[in-house]
């Protein structure tokens, strides 16, 4: 089945990207590709089952929400990392005003 292979290829691409990418944003994207590969595998397996198995679908839905949350936290952390000085200035402005 073509989708099993697709999941494997995406997993390897994501893994490689995570390890070699220089920019941190790209590491986040790589992690998302990685989890998409795992979700793909789960759903492709669910399709093989007879009758169609709803449990992996539910699992993937939960996984998607979890990965969006982690991505959001990672992005905010990244923004804070990239502009610490500006952040502090903004904070000082706020406290002053």
């Amino acid at each position: 089945m073509i989708y099993l292979l697709l999941a494997g290829v995406l997993f390897v691409i994501g893994l490689h990207g995570l390890f070699v990418a220089r920019h941190l944003l790209r590491k986040i994207l790589s992690l998302n590709v990685l989890s998409a590969a795992v979700f793909l595998l789960l759903v492709a397996l669910a399709r093989e089952a007879d009758p169609l198995d709803a449990v992996p679908h539910a699992i993937v839905l939960t996984g998607i929400v979890v990965s969006v949350s982690a991505t959001a936290v990672a992005l905010v952390l990244l923004v804070r990392l990239s502009r610490p000085r500006e952040d502090q200035r903004k904070l000082m402005d706020e406290e002053g005003g």
Binding site: I2, L15, A70
Partner: protein
């Protein structure tokens, strides 16, 4: 027809692989982000091909909508959007990665190929009448494995708290260059978003849909109204309603899980006959909280206690 399906799958897979590579390995951050958004879009098609319309809905709402908005706004907030040179350091590492990646790929595919995947389809079908809903995915999410969903909603709330704990919003949320079209678009589209999310919520009990896509659509609508400059009630202060709305879904699920114990049921065991009603109520609360959490994630920090009038582009 058979070859058409094969060509479709092949094209889709090739495009997905290419996009994943673009997103993770080519220079230009903006291009990467756009590639990733399109990747999400095509993933929705892949889910449809794999008979998973529920996930396709979520992916359409998240991949194309929320994650895209999150990534683009983070990109706008990063100081150095331009990135010099190659996106990765050494090409020498390919001597390691090609054999290692190939071996991993081979192992994974071989293992996946060998799997019998017995699945739980039959058990889900058998228990479906007792679950109170007709859509098996909703039944698994909000009844059989409701503890997972409780924690999932918890993760969303936690992410919002985590982001607030990191500090105030890094930039005012209104665009730097004002466009008169944005507020109009926001006002025009917002009712549509509300309508569609209500529809998805109602569909959830008997067809693909439910709290998550509904919440995601609603959250997207919220982000749109913020971009259009109408958000005065979304304050980070303790007195505003936002904190309560953020925790509503999680609180409702927890209250229910613990509350049934007062009726002599075990943790999270819905009283017979009430399951359908309970699932619907939970979906409503969870949907609202999901929407609120997505907006909170988008704002990337604790919003001010009072919004200033000028920040809203009026």
């Amino acid at each position: 027809m058979g070859w058409l399906v094969l060509v479709f799958d092949g094209l889709l897979a090739a495009a997905l692989i290419w996009l994943a590579w673009q997103a993770t390995h080519t220079p230009g951050l903006f291009r990467s982000v756009i590639s990733f958004i399109i990747f999400g879009l095509l993933m929705a098609l892949a889910w449809v091909r794999l008979d998973a319309p529920d996930i396709a809905l979520a992916e359409a709402a998240i991949g194309a909508g929320a994650t895209g908005a999150l990534l683009l706004s983070a990109l706008g907030r990063l100081v150095a959007t331009h990135e010099e040179g190659a996106p990765w350091q050494e090409r020498r590492d390919l001597y390691f990665w090609i054999p290692a990646g190939g071996a991993l790929l081979g192992l994974l595919t071989l293992a996946a190929w060998m799997l019998p995947s017995p699945g739980l389809g039959e058990q889900v079908q058998d228990a479906l009448p007792e679950s109170g809903v007709q859509n098996p995915v909703t039944a698994v999410l909000l009844n059989f494995r409701a503890l997972d969903t409780l924690l999932e909603i918890g993760v969303l709330l936690l992410a919002a708290i985590a982001i607030w704990s990191l500090g105030r919003m890094p930039l005012p949320s209104a665009p730097a260059v004002r466009s008169p079209a944005l507020p109009a678009l926001g006002r025009l589209l917002f009712p549509m978003f509300v309508l569609v999310s209500a529809y998805l919520l109602w569909r959830g009990s008997h067809a693909p849909g439910g709290a998550f896509p509904a919440g995601a659509v609603m959250g997207a609508g919220g982000i749109l109204t913020i971009l259009a400059g109408a958000q005065p009630w979304l304050t980070g202060s303790v007195h505003g309603p936002w904190r309560m709305l953020l925790s509503l879904g999680f609180a409702a699920m927890l209250a229910l899980a613990l509350g049934v114990m007062a009726l002599g049921q075990p943790f999270f065991a819905y009283p017979p006959g009430l399951a359908g009603l309970i699932v619907l109520a939970l979906e409503l609360a969870a949907g609202l909280s999901i929407a609120m959490s997505l907006v909170a994630l988008y704002l990337a920090g604790q919003p001010p206690d009072h919004w200033e009038g000028e920040a809203r582009g009026e």
